[in-house]
Symmetry: C2
Amino acid sequence: MNDRDVEVLGRAPLFEALDEEGAKALRAIVSEVHLSRGQTLFSEDQEGDRLYVVLEGKIKLTRTAPDGRENLLSVLGPSEMFGELSLFDPRPRTASAIAVTEARLAALGHSDLWPFLKGHPEISIHLLRALAQRLRRTNENMADLVFTDVPGRVAKALLDLAERFGQPSESGLHVHHDLTQEELAQLVGASRETVNKALADFAQRGWLRIEARAVQVLDIDRLRKRSR
Amino acid sequence: MNDRDVEVLGRAPLFEALDEEGAKALRAIVSEVHLSRGQTLFSEDQEGDRLYVVLEGKIKLTRTAPDGRENLLSVLGPSEMFGELSLFDPRPRTASAIAVTEARLAALGHSDLWPFLKGHPEISIHLLRALAQRLRRTNENMADLVFTDVPGRVAKALLDLAERFGQPSESGLHVHHDLTQEELAQLVGASRETVNKALADFAQRGWLRIEARAVQVLDIDRLRKRSR
DNA sequence: CTCATCCTGCGATGTACGTCACACTGTGGT
DNA sequence: ACCACAGTGTGACGTACATCGCAGGATGAG
């Protein structure tokens, strides 16, 4: 694990709570996982008690309906944590984790983390905060599903992705989200076609330019307005 | 606080974790709140760092969209906890809490609970589990919004309410949910009218009988099938 | 380079559900 | 006992979005 990884890991809620000594000890027991694009890390209904932090790349969490249709819960990038639910609430996984890009992860199992929680109760507090934030965000998304139309949800999703993965560039903000329109559609809970039309509409209005698995945001304010 | 209250409180995730001694100490510092039907305990955007456990009655958590439309996050009954998010993640409340029936609550503030968390780290673990379960449930509901039609969501909501508030009776299961059809509609993310039609349809098929703020479930299996 | 496969773009059609309108019923307040 | 008003029941109508169909690009494996 290189210096950059250490920095990335340090921004995860788990490590944030620890002093350098504790962080060092915890780093010593994480194991590293490498995934190539499209590879699945774990699947719905599997047993599993490992928690992951993204070091590099992007991971999507998906749920599959009985009829096979899919739903994208979230897309996670560096420093973000996932898989912890089955650690605190020992049940089979309720989502699958699949690499959207080539990715490297840090992994911690139940038996590795648990003693640490006992020894460093401040970690629990940070984890509670992280889960509380997630719950807020999820409730927000629920409300959006009910109240906001598809273009609005697409705008919201893009803004969120822009905030997390956007890179300033000559003509605006370059958001390389690495998602196909199909995946974007699953993320906002709509059909691929409608999302495509919404994007085309935004592009035609000059708010953004569409690229392969990315967009150039040209007028972020307009996009914000459309998202409300 | 009477014996019954003590028992109800003991089933909340907060108290579950404690031995009798700890529970007794914690009980000593909770304060009791009384609400009459329709009264609001706290509102969206308010500051607040108190956590509540329902002792008696029912509370709804609602969000209001900018345009005034409402969304019901959940309906909580005895032993259920709410308001803890702003305790772990100190931000204004993201939902309002309103009494659906006359209700009594036990309340704990930040300054009361925090020392307890330090002294009893096992509480944090139980709280983590509680939040993890909630997150799973919320994700489930999201998927339903995307994949399940309104009648299906109504069926799901009724089954959930039945499980939590149902009373066995002569002809089936009596579910006194205390919600108007308007509130039920806000809970499943649909219009009052469509929910009414779904209920009428279920009743006409003989799956249930509609009563004021309640239903008699007559054929729970059919209802289950319709919900999937 | 070439073919197969994945991804994107976009029009035509159907439908579930929201909105509107209105009538009926129960309930609680003075 | 009355009226007001909150809650329920149901039809007519419009529309946002899913579904279907297909065509044009991009991508990558051999």
